[in-house]
């Protein structure tokens, strides 16, 4: 059975929308995307602390734990910091500008009593009604090289997440294999399995498994969306590391 997964590659034009909670615009895409949120009086947005670029004077910023210690720990293991900033629009509403830590794109997803799993580092912001918890992946996470915990975002509300490089969503209708380093997020309806790239030689397989290197892939099956990024962070880090200044004495 051959099923082609339909792809939705987003171009460079801004993405705008109005949700039940706020109005958003993602601009400067896809390389150095930023997110503009317009909040009505009393609206709340939660965001990764380092994400804020600027905000209206009418916004009230409170940093602190959210969702109790257990959840915060989960988030910490998910690669996000323990603290989430809470922005509340005061009288007259306000504007909030957010940007991700890496050069790349931002994606928007409305959760309607559904769940999205985010790769570590992908979380950016959410509105009330979205619950964030760390989801222990066990051995899967250990060998995917992407951290032991995925961030689980569930409930009903808006979720913004970021990628390294451009972001692309793929509708999986049967099976899809993605290199672990390129996964940004995926829907809960997909079964996910870390495996070795089919066709690798036996020795290569063992090497891949043990060193989390090339050839380790995620095999998604079932139906749902997967978001992938067009660049892989580790490749960049390896590249950049060679140019790191060293202290010669």
């Amino acid at each position: 059975m051959s099923v082609t997964n339909s792809r939705e590659s987003t171009g460079a034009e801004p993405i705008q929308g109005t949700t039940p909670d706020l109005t958003y615009e993602i601009s400067q895409r896809p390389d150095y995307a930023m997110l503009k949120l317009d909040l009505k009086s009393g609206d709340k947005v939660f965001a990764e602390p380092s994400a804020m670029m600027s905000m209206s004077a009418s916004m009230l910023l409170k940093s602190g734990l959210r969702g109790g210690l257990g959840r915060s720990l989960g988030r910490m293991f998910g690669g996000e910091s323990l603290v989430v900033n809470t922005f509340t629009a005061q009288a007259g509403g306000g504007e909030l500008l957010l940007a991700p830590g890496t050069a790349g794109d931002i994606a928007y997803k409305r959760l309607e009593n559904s769940t999205l799993y985010l790769q570590r580092g992908a979380y950016m912001a959410n509105t009330e009604g979205v619950d964030l918890t760390g989801k222990w992946q066990g051995a899967k996470g250990f060998f995917s090289g992407e951290g032991l915990v995925l961030l689980k975002a569930s409930g009903t509300g808006d979720l913004f997440f970021n990628s390294y490089g451009a972001i692309m969503s793929i509708d999986v209708t049967d099976e899809l294999i993605v290199d672990t380093g390129y996964i940004v997020a995926f829907e809960e309806t997909l079964q996910y399995r870390v495996t070795v790239l089919p066709g690798l030689k036996r020795g290569g397989k063992i090497k891949s498994l043990l060193f989390g290197g090339e050839g380790l892939v995620c095999q998604f099956s079932g139906q749902g969306k997967v978001w992938i990024q067009t660049r892989e962070v580790n490749t960049f880090l390896n590249f950049a590391n060679a140019y790191r200044p060293t202290n010669k004495s």
Partner: protein, 416 residues
């Protein structure tokens, strides 16, 4: 969690259950929506919050268990255009009941597949964890072996810095002798051997220290230290040259650096590689003390013996001084007096005699040139110096100015 409520059906009144879940359909924005699924008499009916309804007759149902948790039940219609799903624990059982046995086979096969999947996952995980442990253990040993390789790729200038820093930090056991009658003959041995050193760019810098301790060592980079006690103890210039060649070999084989990286581990090897030597230099000063400078591994000692023999042979110095030195040490110093530091750090004479003799036998015959020094003059000069020192420190054995301090005397001196 299923909400129980009653609905009227043509066939009478019976209980239906509602399960929260979702639907995939091309017409929906985003391709999916949340639904409430009802199990009716002949079909599943799912309604969205917007009022859209999707129906799948039981006989068309294609079941599949999956999702992130592996516990989600998916139902597809015949052309797969509609997919309903729910993760409610009661859903599979309720669906089987409502379908009146029509879906039992599919459900059973999906359940056993899901079970196999989780078992496969468990075995996979276990295998990976075990394999990782094996790799971590072998990595540890690999790193120790790798440290040696890293060491060999570092510039010799690093050895010199290490050696100089260590020499300055080391307590000297006596004053340095500048008398050319003592230093020049030793220097001539060092020079002859240095021409045949394995590593280029190593400057051997000789220090002769006035001390009864029978010892000599060569710090990384070529700082060579010879104690007058060794000169006194040696029976021939060849034996003295043998010790010197052995110690120089430790330096040219860069044993000191390997020892640092083996002891300090990968951190040291890496920081050496990236050029961050500040920490290593600090460690070196503590590392090479007079007491521990010669504590190399047995393998390194063998390497130094054989490399020493090679250097002697290359320099046309009779290498038989090496085994004869070990013979001397073996015969006369079964017990190790404290002064015979070199002996205590270089044990196992029997096998060393054998190994060095084997090497000498395998070398091509060569006319050896005698070491050009006045041995008796050197010995008496040194003995004079030692005596002076001994006189200053304490009035122990009365040794006449022209007698040589032989090891048995040293034993008595230091045994008390």
């Amino acid at each position: 969690m299923p909400a129980l409520h009653q609905t009227a059906d043509q066939q009478g009144v019976f209980v239906t259950q509602k399960f929260s879940g979702g639907v995939f359909h091309a017409d929906l924005s985003d391709g999916r929506a949340g639904v409430e699924i009802e199990l009716l008499h002949s079909h599943l009916c799912a309604s969205t919050a917007d009022g859209d309804a999707f129906v799948i007759p039981y006989e068309e149902c294609q079941l599949e268990i999956g999702g992130y948790t592996g516990k989600m039940l998916f139902c597809r219609n015949a052309d797969r255009s509609v997919t309903l799903f729910s993760e409610d624990k009661q859903f599979p059982k309720a669906l089987a009941l409502a379908a009146g046995g029509r879906l039992d086979d599919q459900l059973a096969s999906q359940l056993s597949k899901a079970k196999g999947e989780s078992r496969r996952g468990a075995i996979f995980s276990f295998g990976l964890v075990a394999a990782t442990l094996i790799v971590l253990v072998s990595l540890y040993f690999g790193i120790r072996a790798g440290a040696n390789r890293v060491t060999q790729s570092l510039p010799v200038s690093l050895d010199r810095e290490l050696g100089k820093a260590a020499y300055q930090a080391m307590p000297k056991e006596g004053s340095e002798i500048t008398d050319p009658l003592v230093t020049e003959p030793i220097q001539s041995i060092v020079d002859r051997l240095a021409d045949h050193a394995k590593v280029e760019g190593m400057d051997f810098e000789l220090h002769v220290i006035d001390s009864a301790t029978v010892n000599a060592y060569c710090l990384p980079g070529g700082t060579m230290v010879v104690y007058t006690g060794l000169i006194s103890a040696a029976e021939s210039p060849g034996q003295l040259a043998a010790v010197i060649s052995h110690e120089m070999a430790h330096a040219t084989l860069r044993h000191g650096l390997s020892r640092i990286s083996q002891t300090l581990g990968l951190t040291a090897a890496v920081s050496l590689l990236i050029g961050d030597t500040a920490g290593i230099m600090a460690a070196a000063e503590e590392f090479f003390t007079a007491a521990s400078i010669n504590s190399y591994s047995r393998q390194q000692e063998t390497e130094a013996d054989l490399e020493g023999v090679r250097m002697l042979h290359a320099a046309a110095i009779d290498p038989s001084g090496m085994p004869s030195l070990f013979e001397l040490l073996k015969e006369e110093h079964g017990e190790l007096p404290e002064a015979l530091v070199w002996v205590s750090t270089h044990p196992d004479h029997a096998s060393r005699i054998e190994e060095t003799q084997n090497m000498i036998d395998s070398l091509p015959a060569k006319p050896y040139k005698p070491i050009d020094l006045d041995w008796e003059a050197l010995k008496s000069r040194v003995a004079g110096d030692s005596t002076k020192k001994a006189d200053v420190s304490n009035s122990s054995n009365e040794s006449s100015a022209d007698s040589t301090v032989d090891p048995s005397e040293l034993e008595q001196e230091n045994g008390s």
